[in-house]
Symmetry: D2
Subunit: 372 residues, 4 copies
């Protein structure tokens, strides 16, 4: 692992998620930019002393040489550093599991894409919400035509933890600093999740967008509220709202999809169920582990329905799928079916393209802008 | 009443709503364009034979001369006819209760505005959703500053009853015909409700909008899906989605408002409660008839909390407020406080301006367009 | 109407409910025990002066002689007076619509039953919750065998308005006085509703019960909390909980029924939907006005689904069904199908028997006691 | 671990729960009664060959002698075997984490209680639902007097997976066999959870109960539906319903508590929130990780509110608390505050006493029976 030391949020999440299904052990890491703190933190995690590294470059170099080298590196640092770290490990021949957004520039994203194409190494991007069972159920139903031709996609992701200026909060600090977070605020941090989930579930591609970004909190340098209209290939339309100042919202990622044969609704805060209404029929509550659920959703299931799985289980699914992709790569075989559902490099490139298009559109007063 | 004969939906609603609180009796009407059918329908409603009229002009003329003339006329006809009918009754000195949208052109709307200004007659527009108790509670809380400065307004109104072509359905037929419904489809029929409710609750004015209208059902002449980004006076921003093809949605009008001190959420299908979260505090379920509810919401209450009031009660509230406005006018006094919450001519003019701006914006590929 | 004067709650509800569907006008009444106040109140309601009566006996006598006599009397007085008033009007040949519980003794209930049998007059008991559309849907589904053999019936009715001593509250005062309310508190006031609804929906008869009644508020003379275990004919079992001291509960009437082929759940505070799960299948949200709804539920429907109907509409349905029963009686014909769903004398007798059995069981420390 | 081999459900849950927080590694086990299968399964779990044991007695003996002996044994076998296995490990000086119910006879439960008292060894019973954050929040609020004097406790636990005879299902088979499950069916399997949770949250003791047990599915030897009335010390009353044949229910454990100052509601299927209503006030949605949450609930929290924690996290909490209890015991110090919230031997003894009282009461036709 690179990143995730004292005071970090997402590093601990990655560690729990990696542990849950029993496919991963933490054996090496560079957890903080301060070398001494990094080494001390690694030891506190129970690592062998020679695998608690002072910096990521020495880690990549040293691990590459070991017989018992790491199977993959998890990168959980601020956005601006993803590129250099991922590049270092890929170059060293080590698969990468990377937090989103992939990079803070399109150039960097393309560079990683080239590198992955050249090396053939597995690269997994932790758009963790696509690891939940019921979005996978939704995807399977849409793929099977149960919604017919898609017309409308409504995505939203509302939080409120940045409703006021938070100084001295480590999470808030780097996310509010364009040098570390990149040019998008709520845009990069959460709108990209909604965007990825919408494309993951629908199988559509967003062609053009019209955006209106805003920073409501005085003094904030990057957006904290994102209004976007969407146009998809095939004619579907939609809207995407992301906000970190929507007072009273906690982690409100929600997706609604409507086709000419049916409609679906899923919300991250109640992840166990999916509402489905066939045209002219009764609304149904589909349940993880319940009747009529797809093989792909069952694959993302640990315990029976009614025994709630949540955020960590969804995140763990990405790690489990990553394990399969990396094992398959090591064994030089095709990965089993559902491992391929893990988000990867192309999701990352699209995410960065989405961020850039949204900023360009908003700067052009909402002009429709292509996602290339 | 003018309109609301055989096969009509909203006419019957108006009659039930008018009856509920005991302020109104139906005593005269012209219910259908066919004179014989109109007279027969009036008699079936128990009207005196001489007050079941063959056409609205003779009704206005005859009623104006009676000592026991009607206190007001309710106009529940297709949109395109509102102007002529309202003009006729106002000219005859009779107050008007009119369905929305007010008219199908801005010129007509302004004409009625002039006429109302000249005659001083009460004019009530049945944006019935602002008759519910809890939107009035929301308005009172925002007025009292409990949300602080408003930042975000998210409005939506999703239905699915026009998800396929409905031929031979009287409601669908006229709503799909620009000559009778006006230039807006879902835009005029339901987006105007969401727009009015947003301005009613927040006290804000929408200054400019960027719209993307679509007709998804093949052969449909006017929009059935409406995506709009909103900018309000004072800097708040928002989005408005209205659809009549959102499969699985029934009558999903919903409003969310977020300020720097708190957030609110209300949904028409569960109208009895209002979710309120003060910044940094616990979420509260405010309930009609419950603790801490405003005088204006209590005014719009008939039975104790937990005994659900619904659509007809909200609609009845408009009729009850209308009764107070008309009585006050007749008695040459100021109406009591909450009667003034009934929507009126200015809501109607803004609604028509909103429709025209949305169409203009959409025709200009989503260019930001002023609502004048 | 007898009862329902100044400060009464249920009288106003009856008047609104009676008006809503247009079958009833209020034309005569004795509203309060004080003759002058009764007459004054009647006039304030717009009654003809000679039909605002000083007492119910003179009202029954006078109305019986009129050519335009009332079609029925609505009795909305405290429980202890139902018997005498109903007896008076039935004897005068006038149909009765009576609030529940029917009487405060079984002897009185049987006396009315005899009188109704002898006179053949319509008698409707306003167990209003059985007027909602979705309990009727539930009844139709169970009748059609969609739940299979019933096994479990869970009924509850939780309120909190009597969680503390309320002195000076007119509603609380008479309900807490055994002389006026009868021997049951929450038992008579709300448990009877839950009991009637359970039998109405399931078609089962409760054979024996084991009860544990309690008065939690110090000084209270009759129960405010009711715990009962139920055994039904055919072997189903269940529990019934009713409370008026369940802090935080408003008007929480809820019914759940489980058979060997499916299960149902309905809650009065969200009356528009019914949850249905077929054995091994997906849970479905059935909706008033929605797909697959029975003719009997459609009969109890005024406006389309998504336009919430509530407490007054459910109550109005009882008045509408009563109108059909009374018209049919006047026209000497069988009532149309769904009119017969209105609760009547036999529900009233069973309710009184239930009250008496519950008190007897609780006095015998929860011994299983027959409802005869 | 003893138990939890091929086809087991709860063994895998224990393993995931133990792993999640990083306090436990699986290093030894006897997973199945067949020695070869047990050893093979252990190896498949990655155990050292000499720690994949053929039977639990040799495991206890061998582990007791090792320097790196197990810190505790997790017993996840059918109920009837808990006593012998726990006795063996306690006698060998090894702390125990045991599935519930503790034993199938009171004599066995008392024997373990004596043994734990004598040895002083930590003993944790996995009543996992008390590991969720929000029941701990509820307990803290009640302890702090926020509900005032408790009056009413309503507990229920509804499932439907045994609504029909399931032959050949390993889970169903042993649970339906009194020799392995003990004399209670739903009573031992799930009613004990509801009972423990009610006492854990309220701090009350159930003094007497009146029970009506039923086996609805033909041929079933032990109860599948449990109706119980409860009387608590201090005068509170309540009801407990547990069913495994409530068609449409999944894992519906729910607890409601009402005092003279407030009321609470928690449901296991939506574990992240707790509804609280102070007397006369607005209902509040308390949220794990949200405003105003107790230290004890925060202790049971991994990720921020809105990132749902679920069943495995609640279960993991018991393992984390167990780790603290066992570490404290090893270090001969008092455990830190919240570790003590883990359920233990006394919960187990009460659970067995509850089962026996319920069966005795039901056999005596619902006579009130003491829980001794």
């Amino acid at each position: 692992m690179v990143g995730g030391g004292e005071g970090a949020f997402i590093g601990g999440v990655h560690r729990m998620a990696a542990r849950l299904d029993g496919h991963w052990d933490l054996v090496a890491g560079n957890f903080q930019s301060d070398p001494d703190k990094s080494i001390a933190f690694g030891k506190s995690m129970g690592l062998a002393p020679d695998r608690a590294y002072a910096d990521f470059r020495s880690m990549a170099a040293a691990e590459a040489k070991r017989a018992d080298r790491i199977d993959a590196v998890a990168i959980v640092t601020p956005n601006s550093t993803h590129h250099a770290i991922a590049r270092e490990f890929l170059t060293a021949g080590i698969p990468v599991i990377c937090d989103k957004p992939l990079t803070i520039t399109r150039r960097h994203a393309d560079d990683l894409a080239d590198l992955v194409a050249t090396t053939g190494l597995p690269f997994i991007l932790t758009h963790n919400y696509s690891g939940y069972a019921m979005p996978r159920q939704a995807r399977a139903m849409i793929e099977a035509g149960e919604l017919g031709n898609l017309r409308i996609v409504q995505a939203e992701y509302a939080q409120d933890w940045l409703a006021t200026e938070l100084s001295g909060n480590k999470q808030a600090d780097w996310r509010g600093d364009p040098a570390r977070a990149g040019p998008g605020g709520a845009l990069g941090d959460i709108a990209t999740h909604a965007f990825q989930l919408a494309e993951f579930v629908t199988g559509l591609k967003t062609e053009t967008i019209a955006a209106d970004l805003e920073a409501f909190v005085p003094g904030r340098k990057i957006d904290d509220n994102v209004n976007i209209m969407l146009r998809f290939n095939g004619g579907a339309k939609g809207m995407l709202w992301a906000s970190q100042v929507a007072t009273g919202s906690v982690n409100g990622l929600k997706l609604r999809v409507f086709g000419d044969k049916g409609g679906l609704e899923w919300a991250q805060e109640t992840p166990e169920t999916l509402l489905f209404t066939p045209l002219g029929g009764q609304q149904r509550i589909l349940r993880r582990g319940g009747a009529g659920v797809s093989a792909s959703a069952t694959h993302a299931t640990r315990v029976p329905g009614g025994h709630p799985e949540g955020y960590l289980e969804g995140f763990a699914q990405i790690y489990t799928d990553a394990a399969e992709l990396i094992r398959a790569h090591g064994e030089n075989r095709a990965p089993r079916a559902f491992g391929r559902l893990a988000p990867g490099l192309s999701d990352g490139v699209r995410g960065v393209a989405f961020i850039e298009a949204a900023i360009a559109s908003s700067n052009a007063n909402g002009a429709w802008t292509k996602i290339v």
